[in-house]
């Protein structure tokens, strides 16, 4: 017997975007069914680096990112947990004068978005972060950015939604999705049929199938950020660290472990990925150069995840161009964690009000389609 669920909104994908959308939709009183093929928040949302960072994002993302920032400030109230979220500050390091110049340039360009960036160099830089090695000549601090434990935050959104009455089905892959009149119909094997007026496609690296089902092919590529964690070390770092020009990033968690990231893992298959040896060793070398405290530490685990990347590294967020009632939000290109809840709230807004003040033009799904 196939179970049938009728609801206002069906959501495919229980990561931080789908989970938060479910939560805000329930707060608005709509009935929601969330389908997750694995466990909620177990993929890229739950295994990412854990940086909660606005600084460095393309300017067009900052309105959504600011919206998300406000939500991060209310985590305990929304989720019943702080999920180890700390507004520690995010310090982006410059290793050369040109890098410093581009940090200064970003501060100028992002004025008015409320990031409160502060450029710190020379003596003061050494005084404030004596633990950082000599590699950096200065940096840009975003005082209210920080970091959190993604393994705890991301599942918590779907759980909070479920507490408010959302139907959350894990281990439930969507095998078929189509529109039947004014209803979307989703099938999971011969076990479950969901019918809904609205459909949110928030399936991360697996979103392409849903988009294609509605005639919206997207050039989405799966990549696998490489990460490593050390054993717990004495506290030496309070800020979340990035580097201008990329390469390596790191944060020390309250327990003392240093989490670092950089380079790419490799795909085992469409669903699974592993860290890659050269990336792991390069990451260890670069991290030890940036953080001399790591030179005598051990890496206890490496990992990666499966994340969808777009050609321009901006996500796809907003209404379908082919199918009324369908909204997409995926392809965050390795930077979806902080912005995720802001996007979830925006999706809820689109469903409930039919519009949003957020500028979504840069994130149109059809922006990659070659013009005929």
């Amino acid at each position: 017997m196939r179970e049938r669920i009728e609801c206002d909104v069906a959501i495919v994908g229980g990561g931080i975007v789908g989970g938060s959308a479910a939560l805000f939709l329930r707060q608005a009183g709509l009935s929601v069914t969330l389908l997750e093929r694995d466990w909620c928040g177990a993929k890229a949302s739950g295994v990412n680096f854990g940086g909660v960072r606005r600084q460095g994002r393309p300017l067009e993302q900052l309105p959504l990112s600011q919206r998300a920032h406000a939500i991060w400030g209310r985590l305990p109230e929304l989720l019943g947990t702080d999920a180890e979220y700390i507004r520690s500050g995010h310090l982006k390091l410059a290793r050369s004068e040109p890098d410093l110049a581009s940090l200064i340039d970003y501060r100028e360009r992002s004025q008015g978005f409320g990031l409160g960036l502060e450029i710190v160099t020379g003596e003061e830089f050494r005084r404030r972060w004596p633990a950082l090695g000599d590699r950096a000549i200065g940096g840009s601090l975003c005082p209210e950015d920080g970091h959190a434990n993604p393994r705890l935050v991301s599942p918590a959104f779907a759980r909070a939604a479920a507490r408010l009455g959302a139907v959350v089905r894990e281990q439930t892959p969507v095998d078929r999705v189509e529109k039947d009149g004014d209803r979307f119909v989703l099938l999971s094997g011969d076990v479950l049929e969901v019918r809904a007026r609205f459909l949110l496609n928030t399936a991360g690296a697996w979103s392409r199938r849903v988009a294609e089902a509605f005639g919206e092919p997207v050039p989405l590529e799966s990549l696998h950020p490489n990460m490593a964690v050390t054993e717990p070390l004495p506290r030496f770092l309070d800020v979340n660290i990035g580097v201008e020009g990329g390469g390596v990033y790191g944060r020390q968690v309250p327990r003392g472990n240093m989490v670092v990231g950089g380079g790419r893992g490799f795909a085992l298959d469409a669903d699974r990925a592993r860290p890659q040896r050269d990336a792991v060793l390069t990451l260890m070398r670069d991290a030890a150069e940036l953080f001399p405290q790591l030179r005598h530490a051990h890496v206890i685990r490496c990992w990666t995840g499966v994340e969808g990347y777009t050609p321009d590294r901006n996500p796809i967020v907003g209404p379908s161009r082919t199918t009324p009632g369908l909204f997409h939000a995926f392809g965050f290109s390795g930077a979806g964690f902080q912005i995720g809840p802001g996007v979830g709230q925006t999706l809820a807004e689109l469903v409930t009000t039919g519009g949003t003040p957020m500028p979504l033009e840069p994130f149109r799904i059809d922006r990659f389609t070659p013009t005929a």
Partner: protein
């Protein structure tokens, strides 16, 4: 074709690895033998450090001295015909190559044929007080004796189940240590019943009975059907409080406890190599699949010894040789059919014996229920039993990786090698599934802690 010319690689220089190497050398190959220890022998036949104390093998290995000596000699005899890499950790297996760590540097070693003889470690379940100084695993207590020439205490209580329980107690007594008692979790009746099955291998049975008889003759109290209540002590353990078969709480003073519930296979490399796993009822664990010859589900990867199912040192020797023969056959080299047949026969007899052994030393599944919520189960991360039960009870975690993500159990230095047996029991018993119902932890490199400095110390393949 050039790939098939790579020398075979063997991971582990215990009984399985050594016998595999011996067979490959006899066929004219020059295998690479990678081993974490400084000297060959594995855990069971571990040798004292070079130039350290000297104790005769009869004192170190007891009744097993002859076998230990034979295995040691076998390796010594082929030493100059193998590429032997002691003190070398294999920290990763990826895309047909191993990553090795030795002298602080990392090196990538490609392989076309790989024999994993990775051995086993103690399987433990916690009990109140198990983190007190003076509480050791059985295997750890044995290593202290064989490798460091010291005992874990002056008056030691031996607790748990499995053949190692009696063997280590015997070795301690023989080394002049007072044995406060053997506290066997198995009811006496179960053991007696299972003994019938063991008659298939009278030699092993005789040896087991010999240990028990020898211990009794020396006045060591042996208790069956025991459950631990707690290890007591302020600075270190000074007593084991236990419940006897009739439910009576009793107290035995001691300054050390050695405990274990059999062994668990070290399977991370097989996992990273892509081997398919199956749940094994006898070992109560997910194990890499292997056929009778030791072939895994991945072409060119072979499994031998306790690393892919607990069967003991004698079986490991045979399985090591058998895997080497399979490897030779797969490389198109001649193998002696009669020898293959003989090994297969002996391995089949051991397999039957092993089934009765697990009946003689059943896993005390109810032990897990008695673990108090505030007992620490993951020592690396300081996670309690209650934390694991809570994520199961609240529906947040229905399998191992999820429980790890939410609680951190298994996320620390040991990567779950020590605590996952406990997490499986707590999760599955809270959820009401069997131990096979909660999955297994995914292996991630490095399989043991890797110095960050190795990133700057890469060695090119010699």
């Amino acid at each position: 074709m050039s790939e098939s010319l790579l020398p075979p690689v063997i991971v582990g220089a215990g009984p399985a690895g050594i016998r595999a190497a011996e067979r490959l050398v006899a066929a004219g190959l020059r295998p690479v033998v990678v081993d974490e220890a400084a000297r060959w022998g594995g855990q069971i036949y571990r040798q004292p450090p070079d130039g350290g104390f000297t104790r005769p093998k009869s004192a170190l290995y007891g009744f097993e001295a002859g076998k230990a000596d034979a295995v040691h000699r076998a390796m010594a005899a082929i030493r100059d015909r193998v590429d032997y890499r002691p003190r070398t950790l294999v920290w990763n297996c990826e895309a047909g190559a191993l990553d090795l760590l030795s002298d602080g540097a990392s090196e990538t070693l490609p392989f076309s044929h790989l024999i994993l003889a990775t051995g086993a470690t103690d399987r433990v379940l916690p009990f109140p007080g198990w983190t007190l100084p003076g509480v050791f695993t059985l295997g750890g207590s044995q290593v202290a004796l064989k490798f460091q020439g010291c005992a874990v205490g002056r008056r030691v209580a031996f607790l748990g189940t499995g053949p190692l329980l009696y063997l280590v107690a015997y070795q301690y007594l023989k080394a002049g240590v007072e044995v406060a008692g053997v506290f066997d979790t198995t009811p006496f009746a179960a053991q007696a019943r299972a003994t019938a099955g063991m008659l298939r291998d009278p030699a092993t049975l005789a040896k087991g009975l010999l240990f028990v008889g020898w211990l009794r003759a020396h006045g060591v109290p042996i208790h069956n059907g025991v459950r631990p209540v707690r290890a007591e002590g302020a600075e270190r353990v000074d007593a084991l409080v236990w419940r006897d078969a009739r439910g009576q709480e009793r107290r035995t003073s001691c300054d050390a406890v050695a405990f274990g519930l059999g062994l668990r296979s070290e399977t991370q490399l097989a996992d990273l190599a892509g081997c398919r796993f199956r749940f094994d009822e006898a070992d109560r664990a997910w194990l890499p699949e292997r056929d009778g010859a030791g072939r895994s589900s991945v072409a060119g990867v072979y499994l031998a010894g306790d690393g892919s199912g607990i069967a003991g040192a004698d079986a490991a020797e045979l399985a090591g040789e058998r895997a080497a023969l399979a490897l030779l056959e797969d490389r198109g080299l001649p193998v002696e059919a009669a020898r293959v047949k003989e090994l297969d026969g002996r391995l089949a007899r051991i397999a039957a014996f092993r089934r009765s052994l697990s009946a003689a030393f059943p896993f005390p599944a109810d032990w897990a229920d008695a673990i108090a919520d505030d007992t620490m189960i993951c020592r690396c991360e300081g996670i309690t039993a209650g934390a694991v039960r809570e994520v199961a009870r609240s529906g947040q975690a229905r399998e191992m990786n999820r429980a790890k993500a939410l609680t951190r159990a298994g996320m620390g230095r040991c990567q779950g090698r020590m605590c996952s047996a406990t997490t499986v029991e707590l999760l599955s018993r809270t959820l009401g599934t069997g131990p096979d119902g909660v999955g297994r932890l995914r292996a991630q490199p490095p399989i043991k802690p890797l110095p960050v400095s190795a990133g700057a110390e890469r060695r090119e393949v010699a």
